[in-house]
């Protein structure tokens, strides 16, 4: 629970930091007092926990591919950590379709992790469609934040 909370705080800071187009979480240089290695916070701050998608698309873009590559390397380092990839969609679609779209996004991210050597059993998926948005606005900035697959430590 504590880890989840930290993740949420880090995510808010990230959203505030990129005004227009979302970018992947930067791989900030770890410091001596940084997050505990292998933790959710470590993933968010030092690896990047989210992969963004274009409208009505589940193709992982090049920026997302490099995030997933870092996630795969990180998971290789912490072999006992399991993760869940949650797929989301923006509000500009119908609920049931967006549930399917969110699932496809989560699967696309998971498939790339598995392709890079992560055991499939370590990566579960879930879709929230448009029902757990990350950004609460009704504009393109918010929608871009919400077309996302978010990896979290389970």
């Amino acid at each position: 629970m504590k880890m989840k909370l930290l993740g949420a705080i880090a995510a808010v800071a990230l959203v505030a930091a990129c005004e227009s187009t979302p970018t992947e979480t930067n791989t900030g240089a770890g410091s001596a007092t940084g997050p505990r290695p292998g933790s959710q916070e470590d993933l968010v701050v030092n690896v990047g926990d989210r992969v963004f998608f274009d409208f009505d698309s589940f193709s992982v873009r090049p920026d997302g591919r490099s995030t997933l590559q870092r996630q795969a390397e990180w998971l290789g380092r912490y072999g006992s950590v399991n993760v869940q990839v949650a797929g989301h969609a923006d509000e500009r679609g119908t609920r049931e379709y967006n549930l399917a779209l969110g699932q496809r996004r989560a699967n696309a991210a998971r498939d790339l992790l598995v392709a890079q050597g992560v055991a499939g059993a370590r990566v579960s998926t879930i879709s929230f469609g448009k029902d757990r948005p990350i950004a609460l606005g009704s504009n393109e900035e918010a929608w871009a934040q919400n077309r996302v697959a978010i990896t979290s430590v389970r």
Partner: protein, 461 residues
Amino acid sequence: MSLIPSAPRLLSDPQVDALRALSLSRRAMLGAGAATLAAAALPGSAAGQGAVIDITRARTDPLPIAVPDFAGATPFGAQIAQVITANLGRSGLFRPVDRRAFITQGAEATPRFADWRAVGAQALVTGRVEQQGERLRVEFRLWDVLPGQQIQGTAYTTPAANWRRIAHICSDAIYERLLGEKGYFDTRIVYIAESGPRDRRIKRLAIMDQDSENHRFLTDGSWLALTPRFHPNVAQVAFMSYQRNEPRVYLFEIDSGRQTLLGAFPGMTFAPRFMPDGNAVLLSAIRGGDANIYVVDLRTRAERRLTSGPSLDVSPSASPDGQQIAFNSDRGGNQQLYVMNADGSNVRRISFGQGRYATPVWSPRGDLIAFTRIAAGSFAIGVMRPDGSGERILSEGYQMEGPTFAPNGRVLAFFRETPARDARGTGYSARLVSIDITGFNERAIPTPTDGSDPAWSPLLP
């Protein structure tokens, strides 16, 4: 609000239908334990024509009707008249005469028709309530004011706690007698009650009468609940739940609150809808990354896949005869509406307009499919014929979706969302609304909190 300039003729000829003799069939004995209700025809009924109206003209000419308080046991007589008045007024097809204008109160055995003509009423409803211990006997009579003739008289007996249902049943009888098609007042709406900020939105299954009364929450909100749909017997709903963090379709028994997982699918199941015979549920399931449509038999629990391939096939809805299934799919590049035979064969696309089309729902009359359209930055609710012809948009706005038909196919409910004004989500709302299928009479369906995903029940058994 309507984008349709004139009401099209989609309905059977009500003038002819209204001449049918009154059938007491469905109302004759309404079972269901304590809710037992008996109906009996009163003497004096005559098949008159006078007050029949043409519903295709109703937009400009709602029928003036007077519903004075029913005589007898208080407070039931006044309450029943009020519920009937509100039902008929909300339909947009009747114009209840303002009771302050009444010259007489209608308690006489034979109404003083001159007094009702003088206040402009063309139809008159009178009634009497007798309390017999725990039970009520409610009789009502429908009069055609111009010829001064009774056109219906029926009596019901029921536990007193059931007085609202009597009022709805009377409303349906009046509606059917004067408009020539079945009413939709003795019905319920199940929906998702929403509260809290959107990133932590609490979504609870809730149910109420179609007039928003008898509201009840069915789940406690500790997990997301989405997209409830009624079983044809109205005793059960299928819905999607995130309990245990595993989004799946469940069956929910309304009276007991008992929930059962539907099917043994390895991944997410969603978008449930009962087959019209109530013996099977259509749903979408994710398997191997594909979203396909399945039918799950409720007796054997056997599941059968109806669509295949990598496309997203979601939101199935069967025709009233169970022979065809409408759904939406991105197989052609983006979301469009398709119809297939109930065994999955003969898939054909039916939507060809601008934009994306979603959430097809078959009318209980079988004549129309309602849908959500997303085009040019706005959402709309519309209807088209099952072959894709005759597309009409009924309502348009920032976001709206989830049309559901009242059982007579005459009225739709759906939900409207307003956009957030800022990054904190201020100003966002989701509200239930109803609209006539001609595109007029859009009005809010009041709910205690925000609401979404409405499903309108059949007439109560």
